[in-house]
């Protein structure tokens, strides 16, 4: 039920609805869309914060939407700020095992394992 499937068709203009309803104040994202994004992001939103998230997220999406107007034909996307390629290293063990120290921060462990709620019934 929580599969990461986007519910909006790709061809759907992002802020069409909001524009038609109120040209002064875009509302690009619907509550359903925001709820879906929250599931993808594994974030439980409180009922009290939900409307505010819809409002502000819509404003942010409207704001970044101005990028669409920039002419970028034949421009290569930037993958690294210095346009460098990734350095590789040998596949060697270089770090000591610090499991016990690291697990001091874990909420729940047993015999070196991290404990989570039962996944398979």
């Amino acid at each position: 039920m929580h599969k990461a499937v986007c519910i909006i068709a790709r061809s759907c203009p992002v802020r069409l609805l909001g524009l038609q309803e109120n040209p002064e104040r875009f509302v690009s994202l619907t509550k359903d869309q925001v709820q879906h994004i929250a599931i993808l992001a594994r974030l439980k939103l409180a009922d009290s914060e939900f409307d505010d998230v819809v409002d502000k997220l819509s404003r942010i999406v409207d704001f970044v939407d101005q990028l669409q107007a920039a002419p970028t034909d034949d421009v290569l996307p930037m993958a690294h700020p210095l346009n460098m390629t990734q350095r590789l290293r040998g596949d060697e063990v270089t770090e000591p095992n610090e499991r016990d120290g690291i697990q001091q921060n874990a909420p729940s462990t047993e015999n070196g394992y991290y404990l989570v709620p039962k996944v398979i019934e």
């Binding site: 594994r42 502000k56 704001f63 996307p77 700020p81 210095l82 874990a106 989570v116």
Partner: protein, 491 residues
């Protein structure tokens, strides 16, 4: 400037180094004085999340012993505060977030390790916007930091705690990180020096990641000389950071002596538009005139895609943040929700309870722009525009050595003033974000006051040209005394 006989807390790091070397005072004495400053001013400033007083005094004694043996490192016995997103072994590292509220790092960030190895004494960890996402220090779960120049005002952010401490003469230097302006903007708003080095110049290992292609560690100090001193310690290749630059580290302090004669300074037309406060513009122009008077040449240049830098940033940075912050899952460290129904519930509630509103917005923005059907329209598009913005800088640096202009569009704004509208807050970084998108070094230095509040001058250089911007900034500081002015109540 040359004054070396004032109260210890008013002195720069370099002046303190000379005092320690000459035996004028010990590191313990110095540390006690500064811990006393913390006691007096923390309640108003709220600039520290953790104070490590006992460990600091032990480190200070150890530094004094080393000095007695003639074995003092470059920063031996000198104080430092680290922004609370640098991992510090055995010390709380919270990133200003509830989700890391109980996280004690099992290791040191490379920046911390190098500054430690040079002998510095850490006094504590500074407050910051949650995960460095903010321009006002209001998104910290530990509450906002106040600006020493006026407690109603924000010190800027996200390295607002570090900037406030340095401005208030609590410490002479603190580390910061800059993803879109988070060192330079708070430096401008508090009248301090903020240096963001070239991407890859300083290791990101042990810096809690926000946006990995933009994040860079740097420092906030009162003098450019101190920024140069610290950069020399922090910079250099680190095999633990896969984007660390294997590039020689020059003697930045020695490089400060380079005079301004012949320096070609580019003035960006788009940085003096209607968005810039008129009195800030006046101060920045006066600073540029002073540089010209000393022999630099000024040339108007264009960065045509400046307007697109903030929207580009608010696609790229949230995209990377949504990916980086997926590690906070309530399983291996950090906050875990009580009584989860199942694993999915554990993830969603741990994250929902652990993250603040701004961090959630950015994670969700990033999730949206990376999701199926929107990736090309937003993320790929933004990475292309980023290339254009970067190319603008490359073109500009064919004609000039340094780009100069305002750091921020206004002086410090009121706490709470911009919290209702994320876009207004985001636009605060319009002049600083370009350097992050293009991976360039930048520095903000105080260049005067408007209605009693500090104004910052920003200098941006080509990749790995920290020496050039540091020398220019240092030469400017020899002409003025803005950086020696202390906010009322902190003298």
């Amino acid at each position: 400037m040359g004054q070396t006989n004032g109260a210890l807390y008013t002195r720069s790091l370099s002046e303190l180094a000379r005092g320690l070397e000459q035996g004028e005072f010990s590191s313990r004495e110095l540390t006690e004085v500064l811990l006393g400053r913390i006691d007096v001013h923390q309640a108003q400033l709220n600039a520290l999340i953790t104070v490590t007083a006992d460990a600091a005094l032990q480190r200070a004694d150890a530094a004094d012993n080393l000095r007695a043996k003639g074995d003092a490192g470059l920063l031996n016995g000198l104080p430092i505060v680290h922004k609370d997103l640098f991992c510090t072994r055995g010390v709380l590292t919270t990133c200003g977030s509830r989700i890391l509220g109980n996280f004690v790092s099992p290791y040191d960030a490379t920046v911390v390790a190098r500054i430690n190895a040079a002998g510095a004494v850490m006094l504590g960890k500074s407050n910051m916007d949650e995960f460095a996402m903010g321009s006002s220090n209001e998104t910290s779960c530990f509450g906002p930091v106040t600006n020493p120049w006026n407690a109603q005002l924000s010190p800027g952010g996200s390295s607002g705690g570090s900037a406030a401490l340095v401005a208030a003469r609590v410490v002479p230097a603190a580390t910061g990180t800059d993803t879109g302006g988070s060192i330079r903007q708070p430096a401008a708003l508090t009248g301090t020096v903020g240096l963001k080095p070239t991407y890859g110049r300083v290791s990101r290992f042990g810096m809690v990641a926000f946006a990995s292609s933009l994040d860079q560690a740097g420092v906030i100090t009162r003098t450019v000389e101190d920024a140069a001193l610290l950069l020399g310690v922090m910079a250099g290749f680190d095999r633990r950071d896969s984007t660390s630059a294997d590039h020689p580290v020059p003697d930045y302090v020695a490089g400060l002596a380079k005079p301004l004669q012949g320096l070609r300074i580019g003035i960006v037309r788009q940085h003096f538009d209607e968005g810039l406060d008129a009195s800030c513009a006046e101060r920045v122009k006066a600073a540029l005139a002073a540089l010209e008077h000393e022999g630099a040449t000024l040339k108007e240049i264009d960065l045509p895609n400046t307007d697109l830098s903030v929207p580009t940033y608010y696609v790229v940075a949230p995209a990377e943040c949504s990916s980086n912050l997926s590690r906070f899952d309530g399983v291996r460290f950090g906050h875990r929700a009580a009584d989860p129904e199942d694993l999915f519930d554990l993830y969603c509630r741990s994250r929902g309870e652990g993250f603040g509103a701004e961090v959630k917005r950015r994670i969700m923005t990033g999730t949206y722009v990376l999701s199926a059907g929107y990736y090309d329209a937003y993320y790929l598009k933004a990475q292309k525009v980023r290339q254009l913005i970067s190319q603008d800088f490359t073109n500009a640096f064919e004609d000039v050595d340094v780009i100069a202009g305002p750091t921020a569009p206004t002086t410090a704004f009121a706490i709470g003033e911009k919290t209702d509208d994320p876009i207004t807050m985001y636009l605060n970084d319009i002049y600083t974000i370009g350097a992050n998108l293009a991976g360039l070094p930048g520095i903000s230095i105080p260049c005067g006051f408007a209605a009693g509040l500090p104004v910052g001058l920003q200098l941006i250089g080509p990749h790995f040209a920290e020496e050039t911007i540091l020398a220019c900034a240092h030469q400017y500081q020899q002409l003025v005394d803005w950086h020696t002015q202390c906010p009322e109540g902190f003298a």
